[in-house]
């Protein structure tokens, strides 16, 4: 098991390098540059700025310098767009925000999704089942850029219960709508996956045997059925995680939460090279770690898998 983890971590290094080079090349291929604007800067001013950010260096040197700084100094450089800040500042400020609402969305999606799925499976073909399936399919296909403004209209404008955006250090009032908007579709997916895998397990021979032996239903489900039924849910958590990071773009746009999502899109548009790189590396590294964690949990639950 340990060697498996180490091996995976070893792969992470070339993966991140590929990511760095790929993003670097893509960005430099893009038309326009970080300092273009409606009124072109006088050449001398532009030259000063490019010298300041090292953009006058040859391409290979820029990559090498960048990687060196990141690896040895953990320094992602200054932001080209937000002149008062470095990329480290941008991430240090935005990432905890994204992480906070992401974490709660994740918890909500898993807890509610699994409970709903299990309940639906136990009462298969009851009204509860139909309701759960119907609601979850509906929630899964409603794009969150539709969900977010609906929430805003209802809770902020009509009812006046919740603030329409902002973060305020993450007080609960400011968390509710982002968490709902971000988690719903994953909640729905998890409910569907749980339901179908739970049904499969409940119909399998060993559960039937356990029941035939007269073990009480609740206990059978908790002790025997739940663990194997969770396997597909666990393997879904990886893609769900990546999806939530992507979804944070929409959360930041609609709820002005100031997370890193909005920076990614804005910096791609503004050609803020250093911020794009920083966020891409961060998200890449997180994805690798998260997938690794998912695999470890999977192996721990599934007796069939040996590394």
């Amino acid at each position: 098991m340990l060697s498996f983890i180490l091996k995976r971590l070893a792969i992470a290094v070339p993966t991140l390098l590929i990511l760095v080079v790929l993003s670097f090349v893509l960005m430099y291929a893009a038309p326009g540059g970080p300092f273009n604007s409606d009124r072109p800067l006088p050449p001398q001013v532009l030259a000063n700025i490019e010298a300041k950010y090292g953009l006058d260096q040859p391409f290979w040197k820029q990559i090498v310098d960048y990687v060196t700084n990141v690896v040895f100094h953990f320094d992602f450089g200054p932001s080209f767009q937000y002149e008062d800040r470095t990329v480290n500042d941008v991430i240090a400020q935005g990432f905890p925000v994204t992480l906070t609402y992401g974490f709660w969305s994740f918890v909500l999606a898993v807890v509610v999704g699994v409970s709903l799925g299990v309940a639906a499976a136990i009462r298969q073909n009851s009204w509860l089942d139909y309701l759960a399936v119907g609601v979850s399919i509906g929630a899964q296909v409603l794009p969150n850029f539709v969900m977010a403004p609906i929430l805003l209209l209802i809770f902020t404008l009509w009812l006046g219960w919740l603030p329409g955006g902002g973060w305020n250090g993450g007080q609960w009032q400011y968390l509710i709508m982002p968490v709902i908007a971000l988690s719903t579709s994953y909640m729905a997916s998890i409910a569907r996956i749980t339901r179908s895998s739970m049904l499969e397990v409940l119909n399998s021979n060993f559960i039937r045997t356990a029941r035939a032996k007269g073990l009480p239903g609740g206990r059978v489900i908790r002790k025997h059925a739940l663990k194997p039924a969770m396997l597909p849910v666990i393997s879904y958590l990886g893609p769900a995680f990546v999806g939530m990071i992507t979804g944070s773009v929409i959360i930041d746009i609609f709820f002005s939460t100031g997370g890193i999502g909005v920076y990614f899109v804005n910096s791609a548009f503004n050609r803020d090279y250093s911020v794009i790189m920083g966020i891409t590396i961060l998200v890449g590294a997180l994805t690798i770690l998260f997938n690794l964690a998912v695999d470890v949990i999977y192996a721990w639950i599934d007796p069939k898998i040996r590394y």
Binding site: L142, F145, V146, P232, V242, I250, G284, N291
Partner: protein, 308 residues
């Protein structure tokens, strides 16, 4: 974005069983599929949506890009859906017939979904089949590469690509397809490993048929069943993906549109008394995705020989 990994895992397993149990399984599957009410309903819905996309333009009273300049600012009162004016779904914010635009949006969304899935299927199947057939180190390296690529946040890369190469429908197909071929490759490889030890493959190999020919002639055709099932599950994801891209303003060019673009526009005008601009495209979006989900789920369940 909804699941594919868990679907992929399951399909790999199902594929093995199917191969082990032989051809009769496919016949069983058809019977099972036909008996599945949700799947049949999905299939029916799919036909309805497809018919709407294909023939809707013959019912529309207006061109999708023609502006009625008398309606443009007075949308809220005069652009309402009505049979009399011929604007069945009302007009959009620019005074164009929404019915014609929803027809066209459905076409584009379906196309993005299907072609995106196709790109994923072609690239993924070939890649997986080659890796599986070659085996050994080649297989190892090829699958390691897939693992590596799986950790790349492709949505971000796609945004970069659209920014760089400019928005075009071709880029969308390519980008969206390329995001999702990885799972396909894993499925195809798993299947190939089972098939490659079959007699007919070994015979071909023994008689000196070139490896690439074996892959194309003998392996890929045997992968098709499972690949199609996966593709069906992929289409709705592609459509949802496209809607996100459209929301960011990186979707297709005007006057073309997609369901995602229409919904995004409708959603931003939601508070301004023109709700029809949101719900008509949304209905078609939801119906399309429902249909694909049901059909895909039905196909997968039908193939799954485990009794449930």
């Amino acid at each position: 974005m909804p699941a594919y990994s868990s679907d992929a895992e399951r399909l790999i397993e199902v594929g093995h069983l199917a191969e082990v149990q032989g051809r009769s399984l496919w016949a069983d599957a058809r019977t099972r599929f036909v008996r599945n009410k949700a799947a049949m309903a999905g299939l029916f819905l799919l036909f309805v949506v497809a018919a709407f996309a294909l023939f809707g333009q013959f019912i529309a009273q207006y061109e999708r890009d023609t502006i009625d300049f008398t309606l443009i600012g007075a949308n809220m009162r005069q652009g309402v859906p009505s049979i009399e004016t011929g604007h069945y779904f009302g007009t959009d914010a620019s005074g164009r017939d929404l019915f014609a635009r929803v027809v066209q949006g459905t076409q584009i969304s379906l196309m993005v979904g299907i072609i995106g899935a196709l790109v994923a299927v072609i690239v993924g199947t070939l890649y997986g089949a080659i890796a599986g057939y070659a085996g050994g180190r080649t297989d190892d390296i090829m699958m390691r590469i897939v693992d590596v690529l799986m950790s790349i946040p492709f949505m971000f890369v796609l945004i970069l690509m659209l920014v760089i190469f400019g928005r075009s429908i071709f880029m969308l197909f390519l980008g969206i397809g390329l995001i999702s071929w990885l799972d396909m490759a894993r499925i195809a490889r798993g299947q190939t490993l089972t098939i490659k030890n079959k007699e007919f493959v070994e015979v071909a190999h023994a008689t000196g048929v070139a490896p690439f020919k074996i892959i194309l002639k003998h392996i890929v055709p045997n992968l098709l069943g499972i690949v199609i099932v996966y593709a069906t599950l992929l289409v709705p994801n592609m459509i949802i993906f496209e809607s996100f891209i459209s929301f960011l303003g990186l979707g297709v060019q005007e006057p073309n549109t997609s369901l995602g673009a229409l919904i995004s526009e409708g959603a931003s005008n939601m508070a301004y008394g023109v709700l029809w601009q949101l719900y008509f495209p949304l209905i078609f979006f939801v119906l399309t995705i429902f249909a694909f989900f049901f059909v895909g789920d039905g196909l997968r369940d039908a193939l799954d020989p485990k009794d449930r």
